[in-house]
């Protein structure tokens, strides 16, 4: 018997078994303790923890009638990134099997309720526009300041198209107002950059460095040795004692802290010019900032080099990677910080690659709220 025939036979037997169990899939499904099944999904954690229970639960949930999808969506509260994907798969399978049973009114209420889990609302939106494609535009218009950034992204995109149309129609004042409204709400860097570019062309330049919350004034010191990548793990003096008046023995002699304020776009500190071009080298940068009240601060770093970041002496970001991508917000740590002054120490390691594309020794760092909106702080 061919494998295809075996497969067909298995499917037929499975269907027959279901029929023998009662013949009514919905009746069987409605007997499921949904909360218990969702709880088993929520136990999924790193390294495959909870898989056996979740595998059974996701199969049961996937066969629920679509009328129970709102209950499953509310189950997103408290999921981790892994269990959220398990739950999403079950919901989509349920909706696909039972499209006519989708409870549109309940899903609408859930999507409108911004206190609901952002991922649940994102799924609800996908289900609603699949059922009623003509409602998509209306929904998107309402997402401009939505706490769910997936939804907000679409509203910003739509607004950008509207503003561009205003420019084409030579309604520049209208376009400027729209772009400024979008800039306030946009969180995606590509969208922010495009909006700023459009405003610049309309005679309304944007200070993007300030908008993003990039830190531009630093004390720098280096180079220390990173030949054969020894510097990443080495604990040089600036990691032990932050004293900007001190001098130390570096890779090529005495080194001392020097003030540096970058004027480059997006707050990029080019160490090849601020210190000097070195390969197999480590540099440190230090600065401080002040919070007027307890704040959740998102520290966001971009660099093509190996790096470590400490906030108030606590290591919060660390990656020993060289020349494998470099973009704004590439590395992120969200911290709950008290009011007052805080110190930031950054370590940037350059390797010894000779490729032309591996000569960059730089970083950019900004402080934002957890959604990515730049913090405007005293420093």
């Amino acid at each position: 018997m061919s494998s295809a025939s075996l497969r067909s036979l298995r499917i037929a037997l499975g269907t027959a078994c279901l029929a023998l169990l009662g013949g009514n899939l919905h009746l069987v499904a409605q007997e499921l303790d949904l909360a218990a099944a969702i709880a088993r999904i929520k136990q999924v954690d790193r390294f495959g923890a909870g898989h056996a229970e979740a595998t059974a639960a996701v199969a049961e949930l996937s066969r629920q009638p679509a009328s129970r999808i709102p209950e499953m969506l509310r189950g997103f509260a408290g999921t981790n990134p892994l269990s959220a994907n398990w739950l999403r798969a079950a919901i989509e399978a349920s909706a696909e099997r039972d499209p006519s049973g989708l409870p549109v009114e309940t899903l609408t209420s859930l999507l409108q309720d911004r206190t609901q889990d952002a991922r649940a609302r994102s799924v609800a939106f996908d289900l609603l526009i699949a059922a009623r494609p003509d409602s998509k535009e209306t929904w998107i218009e309402s997402f401009l300041d939505d706490p769910c950034l997936e939804l907000r992204f679409m509203a910003i995109d739509r607004g950008m198209k509207r503003a561009a149309a205003a420019v084409t129609a030579q309604k520049n004042e209208e376009a400027v107002a729209e772009y400024q409204r979008l800039l306030e709400n946009a969180r995606n860097p590509d969208q922010i950059n495009a909006i700023a570019d459009s405003l610049d062309k309309l005679g309304q330049p944007v200070d993007l460095t300030a908008h993003y919350g990039f830190l531009t004034t630093w004390s720098l010191i280096g180079p220390f040795d990173n030949r054969e990548k020894v510097g990443f793990d080495a604990i040089y003096a600036p990691e032990q004692d932050i004293n900007v008046m001190a001098t130390y023995v570096g890779k090529e002699g005495e080194v001392r802290w020097q003030e540096h304020t970058t004027t480059a776009a997006a707050g990029v500190v080019d160490l090849n010019t601020a210190i000097a071009k070195h390969m197999g080298a480590v540099a440190y940068a230090i600065t401080s900032f002040t919070l007027s009240e307890p704040t959740t601060v998102s520290v966001r770093l971009g660099t093509p080099n190996g790096h470590k970041v400490w906030v108030d002496g606590q290591l919060v970001i660390s990656n020993h990677v060289y020349h494998a991508g470099n973009s704004i917000d590439q590395h992120q740590a969200d911290l709950q910080l008290e009011a007052g002054e805080h110190t930031l120490l950054v370590k940037i390691c350059q390797n010894e690659q000779t490729d032309s594309w591996a000569q960059d020794w730089s970083f950019q760092l900004r402080l934002a709220d957890p959604t990515g909106k730049g913090l405007q702080l005293g420093r």
């Binding site: 790193r46 979740a54 994907n85 798969a89 989509e92 590509d190 990656n319 494998a324």
Partner: protein, 409 residues
């Protein structure tokens, strides 16, 4: 460097007849993995079109929800394809979809949020690895190291966020190694400058059976699976050498030290393996220790992987030179300049080679004993990095925006 002298067989556990590992429930006409059966890039069909164009032999075209250098696979009448989209910079929304092979109708779609790092070079995408199937399930893998096991009807069986488990297992340029099935495990090669490893994940339960540290170097090549003396095995190649392990427990069978390709992938040819290793090497792994049949340092696979048809090897360079090599000697027989630059590994069927340039120019080459001839060109006008798939009803290719089927009218 001399391949033979650089070989260091530290350990050889098994000397026996070697065969490409059969996928458990595979049909002869399915295309279940990157480069198809035996990783040779050869379809066992004579039905593919020998010409194409806007009005010629295009069976259907469907829009996809996102980008992907990942190739389609074909299983049980379904074309399975992965994409990534959402925020254009992050590509953190992962899609797994099934389309009817016959009509192009979408049968199901599953969406997930990436839990590892989804970043990539703008040309690439999170959906870079080609999925694999055992004939009953689909294993969809992404650059973010999210691994999904779904039934052919789209039901989630299990899911692993290997990037969530190992946050430093990442390359922000993007990774592209396609998973393979070997015995009871699905093998993922996650080599990068951070937490670099290869792992065998139980294909039925999602449990990690074994995990081996690998050199902390970027790698985009894919593992291959084969079966030797009733043992399922896997070969992984990296810049610093190669490693063959048992699929059931990850125990080392042998290692080679040297400079393997970090992009191009190996091919199983009966009891031999063609390895992109300091050029190209054909080695016999049925003997103890494994013996090189030949090594050709001048033939260096670049962006694409070698493919095999009978007594010929075909290699398409990134800048578009197609070379035919003698499988017996490794010597070049002829070469042909093609149109464009390439990331997509071509496909062979019935003496014709099907290739897709990065700019989207679909080309058919008639393969001859002493030369090749481009017999058809069709500019699809869409960026293509993915490799094609084929079944007995047609040829499938995905661009950055669409999935195409070509079939003889």
């Amino acid at each position: 460097m001399n391949w033979r002298s650089s070989l260091s067989f530290r350990h050889l556990a098994i000397a026996a007849v070697v065969l490409a590992a059969p996928l458990p429930f595979a049909s002869a006409t399915d295309w279940l993995q990157f480069r198809g059966p035996d990783f040779q890039g050869k379809a066992q069909t004579t039905a593919l079109p020998k010409e194409w164009g806007p009005e010629k032999n295009v069976a259907w075209r469907v829009e996809l929800p996102g980008k992907g250098p990942s190739g389609p696979i074909v299983v049980d009448g379904k074309v399975i394809v992965t994409s990534s989209g959402g925020d254009a910079r992050q590509q953190d929304r992962a899609y797994v979809e099934a389309y009817s092979e016959a009509t192009g109708e979408r049968l199901w779609r599953r969406q997930f949020w990436s839990t590892g790092r989804p970043y990539s070079h703008p040309l690439s995408a999170n959906a870079a690895p080609t999925p694999v199937s055992d004939g009953e399930r689909v294993y969809a893998f992404f650059s973010s190291n999210d691994l999904y096991c779904l039934t052919l009807d789209g039901d989630l069986v299990w899911y692993r966020g290997l990037g969530y488990d190992h946050p430093k297992a990442a390359n922000d340029v993007g990774m592209s190694s396609s998973p393979v099935i070997a015995g009871d495990v699905v093998v993922v090669q996650i080599e990068n400058q951070g937490d670099s490893f290869v792992a065998g994940v139980d294909r039925l339960t999602g449990e990690t059976r074994w995990r081996l540290a690998r050199p902390a170097e970027a790698n985009w090549g894919s593992p291959i699976s084969f079966r030797t003396n009733d043992v399922d095995a896997v070969l992984v190649v990296s810049r610093t050498g190669a490693l063959a392990v048992r699929a059931d427990n990850g125990e080392s069978l042998w290692t080679w030290e040297g400079a393997g390709s970090s992009i191009s992938s190996s091919v199983v040819i009966g009891d031999r393996v063609l390895v992109p290793y300091n050029g190209l090497v054909l080695t016999d792994i049925s003997s103890a220790p494994p013996q090189d049949v030949w090594a050709n340092e001048r033939m260096r696979p670049s962006n694409t992987s070698p493919i095999v048809d009978g007594d010929r090897i075909y290699m398409l360079s990134g800048n578009g030179v197609l070379a035919a090599l003698d499988l017996a000697t490794g010597e070049r027989l002829w070469q042909l300049r093609m149109n464009g630059s390439f990331w997509s590994t071509p496909l062979i069927a019935d003496g014709y080679l099907y290739a897709f340039s990065q700019a989207g120019v679909a080309q058919i080459v008639k393969l001859g004993a002493e030369s090749g001839e481009v017999v058809a060109e069709y500019d699809l006008g869409e960026t293509i990095l993915a490799s094609p798939a084929a079944s007995d009803t047609g040829l499938y290719i995905r661009s950055d925006s669409a999935l195409w089927k070509f079939a003889t009218e």
